[in-house]
Amino acid sequence: MSAVLSLRGVTKRFGGLVAVNAMDFDVAEHEVLGLIGPNGSGKSTTLNLISGALPVTTGAIALRGSPITQLPAQDIARRGIARTFQLVRLLPSMNVLENVMAGAVFGHRRRWGHEAEAVAQAMLEKVGMAGRGHMAVGQLTYIDTKRGELARVLAGEPRVVLLDEWLAGLNPTELEEGLALIRALRDEGRTIILVEHVMDAIRSLCDRCVVMASGSKIAEGTPAEVLADPEVIRAYLGDDDA
């Protein structure tokens, strides 16, 4: 297995609190990795460490073998790791197309002018928002803001996509659309890490899962394996049910 992204002993302390404790895992090319665990287990913090939003306390993160541990967020983004945010962040003063162009102009592959606009249009089409580029961000429905953000992330042609609870908060119909969209990305052969609570998504999308509890990795394997693991069940439901 050739790892695109690898974490070795990655630890994050906030004062005395160890939010992420010695995380080790690899993500292979074209793999969809689910990062799951109960609330507060350190999943989002792990994503923040990978994307450079937070500095790593100790440990090493490498992208295709070259270390990115100490790089600032913008350099990590340029090298090809792009993310969505748990609470969607679109640029309020710009229309949808300009939001997506932000990814196309400054991302891993950088373009400008008509080329950037063409890429942005193509990405809008990919996420199912063709023809909505002129709309103001405030006019979008909730799922469309999520799609718009995803289009911005994809527009930079990243090597690894980090999705932070991308399916959270969607209604059942939207969830179907959202699942189909991520499945389509998976079928394109993208490398994705998704932090997710929606179990359907984990079962149907992930090749492999890493389960976290209280900052540490407690299990790793296929979704079926880890979801049957007594320790994982204990982490989610408590001792009595294990």
Binding site: A77, L91, A102, F106, G107
Partner: protein
């Protein structure tokens, strides 16, 4: 990138406006020309200020610092160097100073940046005053044959440069990056924008332009001393004028500068001690009634007329 017909129209209009403004010294009396110089000066300062502070929302009060440094470049330099070398020299020194300030402060945000830039002008003023006390000199005489009309034309040329630069930045990747930074700095970073570098690069513009403006205006003062060259009031006036006009458009500060200058002139003549009051009242008006300046007001009127089918 290619220019659209809209670009050509705007360029033609701007060139026409510039040509008309350039003819004014032959048409106006001395007093009107003095006001013309003031308007040109504040247009240059407020427009370059808005180029940085508009998109980034960083309120810089460093205008007086750069301006003062510029006047001293002319004041000291005129004794040793030909005049035409002084303006570019002032520009370079202003840019270097801006880069240093940027490196030191642009990682800070919000109010820390404001306080630092306000303190900077005061700091440089104190350093020069101290230097004068040590060396025993007082102010500097700047005696040249440069007339009010010459100063006006130089400022006009500088204004044209600032507009051209602002227009070019607006079409560039840097301009796009700054709009993203102004909207959401975290998204900017995670999209791959080197936010600190972009902000420092842009901060060179008001720094350099204010220093050149100071260098151009030094001959007008004839006698310069620190309290005149680094007057903090200048920084506040520039902020108020730019915000009054609005920073959302390149021409925004200009529509703030013109009425404000006339008002300031009128108040200075009739009740000279109340100019600070004017600043305060203008600030309240901006905050409560015109948060986006005249530019925002025009936009709102146009939208309202549009929705009623009048446009």
């Amino acid at each position: 990138m290619r220019l659209t017909s809209n670009d050509w129209r705007n360029l033609t209009l701007a060139a026409l406006g510039l040509a008309i403004a350039a003819c004014l010294p032959w048409l106006l009396g001395n007093y009107a020309l003095t006001i013309g110089v003031t308007i040109a000066m504040y247009t240059v300062l407020a427009t370059s200020w808005a180029l940085f502070s508009g998109p980034t929302h960083y309120i810089s009060l460093a205008t007086a610092a750069f301006f003062g440094v510029g006047t001293y470049v002319t004041g000291i330099g005129i004794q040793h160097l030909p005049y035409w070398t002084l303006l570019p020299l002032a520009g370079v020194i202003g840019a270097v100073l801006a880069a240093l300030v940027g490196l030191a402060t642009l990682r800070l945000s919000g109010v820390y940046f404001v306080i630092f830039t306000l303190g900077l002008a005061e700091f440089i003023r104190q350093v020069i005053t101290w230097g004068q006390n040590v060396s025993g000199t007082k102010g500097i005489y700047v005696l040249t044959s440069i007339t009010e009309a010459h100063i006006y034309w130089q400022l006009l040329g500088l204004a044209a440069l600032v507009y051209l630069l602002g227009w070019a930045i607006g079409r560039s990747r840097l301009g796009f990056a700054l709009r993203i930074i102004g909207d959401d700095e975290q998204v900017a970073r995670h999209s791959g924008i080197h936010t600190a570098r972009a902000k420092i690069l842009l901060f060179l513009v008001p720094g350099s332009v204010a220093a050149i403006t100071g260098a151009i205006l030094a001959p007008r003062y004839v006698y310069i001393e620190p309290s005149l060259a680094f007057a903090p009031m200048l920084s506040f006036q520039v902020v108020i004028m730019a915000l009054l006009g609005g920073t959302g458009r390149l021409w925004g500060p200009l529509v703030g500068v013109i009425p404000f200058t006339f008002l300031w002139e009128a108040i200075s003549i009739t009740v000279p001690n109340q100019t600070t009051l004017l600043l305060g009242v203008s600030f309240l008006i901006i905050v409560y009634l015109l948060p986006k300046g005249f530019v925002g007001l025009f936009g709102a009127i146009r939208r309202r007329m549009g929705s009623e089918g009048l446009v």
